[in-house]
């Protein structure tokens, strides 16, 4: 049994079209995903940087990657991942 991914935060680059509205709709239709949040951090001439946050019971990273690539986007980095039985945030430490 493989652990289930419950949250992913991705730093992506995407063409201006399709819009984040379309992309959010399509990602939300993927199996295992319950919610998606996309925010634009930077807009360029033809492309924009988007932070995609997805939460769900069982996120299939490969399907998500395939969909984002099919929509013309590319994933620069996986900035956060939560897996397991529940979602936890990173713990605050004294150094913070």
């Amino acid at each position: 049994m493989i652990g289930k991914i419950r949250r992913l935060v991705l730093d992506t680059l995407k063409p201006i079209e399709p819009s984040i509205i379309d992309i959010a709709r399509q990602i939300s239709e993927l199996d295992g995903i319950t919610a998606v949040n996309i925010s634009i951090s930077e807009v360029d001439h033809r492309v924009e940087s988007a932070k995609i946050t997805v939460e769900g019971d069982d996120i299939h990273y490969e399907d998500l990657l395939k969909l984002i690539q099919d929509l013309g986007g590319s994933i620069h980095s996986v900035d956060e991942v939560v897996a397991g039985k529940m979602i936890i945030d990173d713990a605050a430490t004294l150094q913070d």
Binding site: P18, D22, G72
Partner: protein
């Protein structure tokens, strides 16, 4: 929960077409090409008819043959020409986007939408002048109901003006201006080409 979906190729095709339309914005360009080329088609066929009329051609067969071959040539010209130009423009666009994204975009939905758009626009571009010109030629396909060839010519020219008016109304609908004025603007082009043709 399992999803039960009725597999329907047509509805799937329509869904894909809608999606590609949203990405590649086919509607607007298609509309522009349709109006422009149908207009071209009608004016060309007016030229053919006036030419035949002035030259004293009184054989329906000759008018139908010259008219029909002109229609076909216009159709092929539209299909070929716009496919080549449209796909060249869109290829360049995709390449620029690929450079900005640092990822090849040809195998993405954008690339597929762009190729689909070039084909649809080429079909619109080919069919618009062909159909518009064929409409004008209708009286010649049923020439036996007209008493003289002159009346067939005049009816066909009348239909050409009506078609132009219809196109004007279509354009007026897009620009949301007065439909009658917009229709008259396109009719004037037809009348001018008829008059100049007759003067030659």
């Amino acid at each position: 929960m399992p999803k039960f979906q009725l597999y329907n190729p047509l509805s799937q095709w329509v869904r894909k077409a809608k999606e590609y339309n949203a990405i590649a914005d086919i509607g607007e360009i298609g509309r522009r090409y349709f109006a422009m080329n149908a207009f071209d088609g009608v004016l060309t066929i007016i030229g053919v008819l006036i030419g035949n009329m002035s030259a004293g051609v009184d054989s329906v067969r000759i008018v139908v043959t010259t008219g029909f071959t002109t229609c076909i040539a216009m159709g092929i010209s539209g299909l070929w020409g716009s496919y080549l130009t449209e796909s060249a423009e869109r290829k360049r666009d995709m390449e620029e986007l690929s450079r900005s994204m640092l990822v090849d975009q040809n195998n993405t939905r954008l690339g597929r939408a762009s190729r689909f758009a070039a084909i649809i626009i080429a079909i619109i571009d080919g069919l618009a002048p062909l159909l518009a010109a064929l409409i004008v030629l209708i009286p010649f396909f049923m020439a036996e109901i007209f008493p003289t060839i002159q009346s067939t010519y005049i009816t066909a020219l009348g239909i050409s003006l009506l078609t132009l008016f219809g196109l004007g109304v279509f354009l007026g609908n897009i620009s949301r201006e007065n439909l009658i004025i917009s229709g008259l603007k396109t009719i004037i082009a037809g009348i001018v080409s008829i008059l100049i043709g007759l003067l030659l």
